[in-house]
Structure formats: C-alpha cells, structure tokens
Symmetry: C2
Subunit: 234 residues, 2 copies
C-alpha cells in the first residue's frame, strides 16, 4: 500500500455508491426479484454491497420518493405493494399519458430521436422473437420512454416513466403467473406508432397511442379477472 492508495475498492469510485445501490435495487424491484411487500433490511444490504449503511439509506430515500418502497420512521422498510383495488386510476393515467407522449413526439421529435426509438423497437422485436419475457417487458418500457423523451415535456415524461415502471411490475406478475405470450401484434403496433411519429401525424399518433394503451389495459385486466375467478372458486 502506497500513500496514494485510496479507500475505495478499485472498481468503485467515491460518490458512486448511492447510485449503484439505487440502480440495482430499482431493477430488482421492477423485475420482481424483490416482490411487492418484501422487507428491506439495511444491515443485510450493507453487507451485500460492502458499503456502510449511510449510502444504502440514501438510495432507499430515492426509491421511496419514486413510490417503489414504503418507509415509516423507526420501522422496517418494504417494497411497495401494487394497489390492485385501485388499478383503474393507473389505467386512467396510463391511457392519457400514452396519448399525450405519443402525440407530443409526433409534434416535437428531432433527427436524433428516431434512431434511438428504432433501436429500442428492434430490441423489443428481438425479445419477442426469442421469447424472453423480462427483456420484452423492459424494452417495451424503454421504447415508450424514448418516445416520451422525443416529446420534450419533462413533466409528462417523468409521470409516464413512473407509470411505465409500475406497468413493468404488473406485467412481470402477469408473465410469472400465466402461460407466456409473445404477441407479434405489439411489434407491428410499435412500427405503426413510429411511422406516425416520423410523419408528424399528430392525430394518428394520438389514436395509435390510445389504442395501444387500451390493449395493455385489457391484458392486465385479464390478470385481475382471472384472480377474481380463482378466489370465488375457493
């Protein structure tokens, strides 16, 4: 050890701790590796990440601010539950935001936007082809988030990202519970959305965004309906 050695492991630089923990935990929550309701223990996380509890806590504050975890003073933190009783509020907001973001993308996109959107579209198509549910869910969200970015309204983009995150968790639950489906139809719809955006056809973009969102809502409602039937049968 020379005098210039720092106290950080060679792969981690000072100031990067909180973000690393935040990114990893966020992905685990969204992929349901950490399912809704599961407890979060700072001491264990500190051991796992080989950090003290302070940066762990800061990452947890960030996750709480995004509604991904629930915290109360002096009590265990846990991964936030999905509020199945009030899914209609989620659907309501999702449909409107699909419309708004797709519409704004048609209006405001720039030359550098379309290659990014197309890249995520290709990733999505590849995930459908290879029947990789996790990748499909993640690339779908990334595709629509890129569209929102092209719309250039940070307020709508941030709300939409939050909805897409929640949608990832719901879809992950769906794909864990039922025979996995990889509909080519959604790939085709994404292509139509891209064409409308490129053509700056604001009304078509709005209409396609709405129809696409309503498909997703219908898919999620199937999950909810099946659960109810199972409960009644008991």
């Amino acid at each position: 050890m020379t005098d210039t050695d720092n106290n950080y492991p060679p792969e981690r630089k000072r100031g990067s701790g909180v973000k690393m923990v935040y990114d990893i935990l966020r992905d685990e929550i969204l992929d349901l590796v950490l399912p809704p309701g599961s407890p979060i223990d700072e001491v264990q996380l500190a051991e796992r990440f080989k950090l003290s509890r302070t940066p762990i806590r800061e990452a947890l504050v960030r996750l709480a601010g995004e509604g991904l975890i629930d915290t109360l003073p002096n009590r265990s933190t846990m991964v936030s539950n999905i509020d199945f009783l009030n899914l209609h509020t989620f659907f309501e907001a999702l449909v409107l935001m699909y419309r708004v973001t797709t519409r704004l993308a048609a209006q405001n996109h720039r030359p550098e936007d379309l290659p990014v959107i197309r890249g995520f579209h290709e990733d999505y198509a590849a995930a459908v082809q290879s029947r990789d549910a996790l990748a499909m869910i993640a690339t779908n969200a990334a595709f629509h988030a890129a569209i929102a970015e092209a719309g250039r309204n940070p307020y709508f983009t941030s709300l939409f990202r939050r909805l897409l995150d929640e949608g990832r968790r719901i879809l992950r639950l769906y794909y864990q519970s039922y025979e996995e489906q990889f509909p080519q139809r959604f790939v085709d719809e994404h292509a139509e959305i891209i064409a409308a955006i490129e053509a700056r056809d604001v009304e078509a973009a709005d209409r396609l965004g709405k129809a696409h969102a309503e498909q997703i809502v219908e898919q999620v409602q199937k999950l909810f309906t099946r659960n109810n039937k199972l409960d009644i049968d008991l």
Copy 2:
C-alpha cells in the same frame, strides 16, 4: 441527567429529523427565501438545525427527487433554477392537469371533500382581501391540490402537486418584481369551480379548469414579456 434521559432535545423526537428539515427547506424554496441557483451547504444547515449532516443529506435527497434542488456527486448542491426557456412545457402540462384534476373532482368527489376545498377557498379569499401575496400564492396551490385529491387519482395528483409547487415559485418571483395585484376575479372563478364540482358537472368543471389555468398562464407570460422588453431597451 438521569439514566432515562434521551439524547434528543425535548422538542424533537427520534425519527423526526429528516422530515423537519425537508419541510422547512421545501417551504423556503417555494417561498423563494432560498432563491433559484442559491447554494446549499450541508455544514451550515447542520449547524442551523442542530443536527448532524446525515439527516440533512437525507432531506436533500428527498428534495432532489422532487426537482427542487440539483445535486451532482462531489459537488455543491443548489436550489434548482426555473427553466424560463422551456416555460411552454410547464404551461402545457399545467393546463392539461388543471383540466384533468378539476374534471375528476367533479366525477369522484366525496362528502368529506367539499368542506376541505371550501376551507382553502376561504383562506384564499382572506389572503386576497388582506393583500398578503405569500398567503395568496400558497392557499391557491392548496385549494387546487385539494381539488386534485378529491379526483382520487394519485398519479395525476402527484404530477399536479409538482406543477403547483413550481407555479408557486414562478408566482412568487412575479409578485416580488411587480406591483402586487390581488384580483377578486380569481376568487370568483374558484367559487364557480366549486359549484361545478358540487353539481358533478364534469364538462363545466373541465371548461372552468382550463379557463382558469389559461388565466394563470397569461399572468406568468406577462412576467416573461416584460423582461424581454426591458432587455431590448438597453
């Protein structure tokens, strides 16, 4: 000092530190006591609040998550600027959210909601009457936030609250710069909005919400327009 004495000052209980700091700083940012661009110094805040830096930092993480401050690793934190170049995105989102929240309140309000909304309406009217700009701005935001709560969609409510916060900062700037105006017209419009909500007249609520938002946008645009004229005259 007996063995049962705790380490917390008598007026503060363990676990309340972060929230206290967060609440106070948030109010100071929204009232422009801490103006846009001003530096935030953890050490000074720790001295001011008589706490160690750890809870200060946690409060700052919360404020950063709400866009009220900007942080980068290993650098000074500062109060976030108001992006005057992109105010149109703010207006766009504000108008849509005024419509959506007012509409949903007309649809979904419950008996306990209207007294709360009326309470804030009265506070607003009193602030206009007594020509108290700070109170007027704050009670206006509280009034509309209560309407959003009555609409019972947490996704729209959270976006709207963020927009109302930003609107508070912008209006505070306006009222610091120009002869203060206390228009009775806004008090009357609030009363009309309440009546439409009470009557469950969704379309009237939407229309009134939109018109009201457009008035606010116009008021803020006056601020922007005047600055431009002054620059040209130099």
